[in-house]
Point group: C2
Chain length 314, copies 2
């Protein structure tokens, strides 16, 4: 079970690689939102997203023999880069399973960190099966994107830092994809400060955790089309969902238009680049989805990896 202690251990373990990201505020965002908002800026994190926290926590926990056999991950996005960076840091080989149509910039960045790329066809092949087969064949350790205790504990460290910098928050807002970030954040938040309320946010079109919370059990949805490409998992994890169910007040929903407007507002007014997935919690606060009455709200900005063409087309 994931505990505060394990998150604190993760914080120690990843210190050599993860940045302590700044917490930023914005008078114009506060005015628009009607409360004081504190942004934990994981878009400035190494690799451009919070993912290094979980990947490094898991990879730095491996023993010498495991490290000799390398690691495998499947991801077209931020988890791929994070796994490659953490593996390089300890001198172990990383093999990343990426779709043939993954953005070239992400493939290049992942290869640039020294990882070997194995491609697959998204329409006809199963990336999880490929990852597991590679792991079985080579003895490599599979580093899952969210559904593992060490991954969740690592992701929770961002909230530990936020609460050290701003102890007196009354709400925390986090995006929900597979659930690693929100599960880790919720444990860090509610164990540190039991009266802190934690809210998840999903795009309306990728509402698997929202549906799962309604029904009290994991629900699988059809592949969503939301612009928030990091939040497209079709169901919360086996390990992440019970934590979310226990510790998260509820899931809020935002539209893709609200996400786009938030990306632009944060860019032009706060001067920082967030990817669509990274803007989802801020969108919920900006568009009044959070229940009224909160004064000091923490928002996890999960990442900032977005291609120029996508941005310029917004």
């Amino acid at each position: 079970m994931i505990t505060l202690r394990k998150i604190q251990e993760a914080a120690e373990r990843i210190r050599p690689i993860a940045k302590r990201t700044p917490v930023l505020t914005s008078a114009s965002f506060n005015e628009r939102a009607g409360c004081e908002v504190f942004f934990k800026c994981e878009n400035f994190q190494k690799g451009g997203a919070f993912k290094i926290r979980g990947a490094a926590n898991m990879i730095f926990s491996l023993g010498p023999e495991q490290l000799r056999n390398g690691v495998v991950a499947f991801s077209s996005g931020n988890h791929a880069q994070a796994t490659a960076i953490a593996a390089r840091h300890v001198g172990t080989k990383a093999t990343i399973v990426m779709p043939t149509d993954a953005p070239r910039s992400k493939v290049a960045a992942t290869r640039g960190y020294g990882a070997e790329i194995v491609t697959y066809d998204r329409m006809t092949e199963d990336r999880i099966a490929i990852g597991k087969r590679l792991a079985a064949e080579t003895g490599a350790t599979l580093v899952p994107p969210f559904d593992h205790e060490l991954i969740m504990a690592g992701q929770g460290t961002a909230t530990l830092e936020l609460l050290e910098d701003v102890p007196d928050l009354d709400a925390l807002v986090v995006c929900g994809g597979g659930g690693g970030l929100i599960a880790g954040s919720a444990v860090a938040a509610t164990e540190t400060k039991p009266d802190l309320r934690v809210y998840g946010v999903e795009p309306e079109d990728a509402n698997d955790t929202w549906l799962s919370m309604q029904q009290g059990m994991r629900v699988e949805i059809a592949p969503p089309r939301t612009i928030a490409d990091g939040l497209r998992p079709t169901s919360p994890g086996e390990l992440t969902f019970p934590v979310i169910k226990e510790r998260v007040e509820r899931i809020l929903l935002v539209t893709d238009d609200e996400i786009r407007e938030t990306v632009k507002f944060v860019l032009l007014r706060m001067k920082m680049l967030v990817e669509p997935s990274g803007a989802v919690p801020a969108a919920a606060v900006m568009f009044g989805k959070l229940p009224k009455g909160f004064q000091r709200v923490g928002v996890i900005v999960s990442g900032g990896n977005v291609d120029w063409e996508v941005l310029a087309g917004m």
Copy 2:
């Protein structure tokens, strides 16, 4: 004369309004530049640029009678907003002289801070004369954009903070427009750490300070067209130039294409929005204009106010 003491006093004076902005680093920028770079991020400053430091230092130094008569400034850009914000903070009236063709977003922002806007025709009218006439008629105090000791001292406070956070820099790189920022920065840097080398940077097309340094006296150039709209003054100031001449090693030059590429690199890799003028020092470092041999380089990111259309068209 501007002294370290006056910059330290300015730091105390502006504390109620100016943010202590973060210092960010980027492994990918360092790799590209070949040295370790520390970015002092004034794009996250209140009003989106360093200008609040100087404007607040001057306005907060005014006596009760002066405050009753208000302040006047002429600026189409960041100094207008900064003056309006600082004036509102002390409850004095701000009148800002802006060209009829100033970007609507900047006029709206300045008005939003409670300032009165007086427009003029850039082709047929003289903004300095209008500003002086308004000041004479109403008894208001003119807050100049750079050529005043209190303005220079205020702008120098960003470098004081940077050196508190990263004491062991061996070079500091700052953009040169009218020269308030670089003059203040150079005094703060060389008085705190005499072996720290200070470099100015200008767009090739707006090389008035470069020319002035060559000739040892202030040179006036024709109105430049550079994309770096904050660096378009046609000569360094009467008060700023002697300080620059004494304390700045030399002026480096960058092209508009180098500025554009730097804006994009900083946006996509470092996840932060800098305006073209704000990217000028980073461009000099990224494109190898700085003499070789420096290990730890401070870069002042002066601001991040850029319109969406300008950005998307880059």
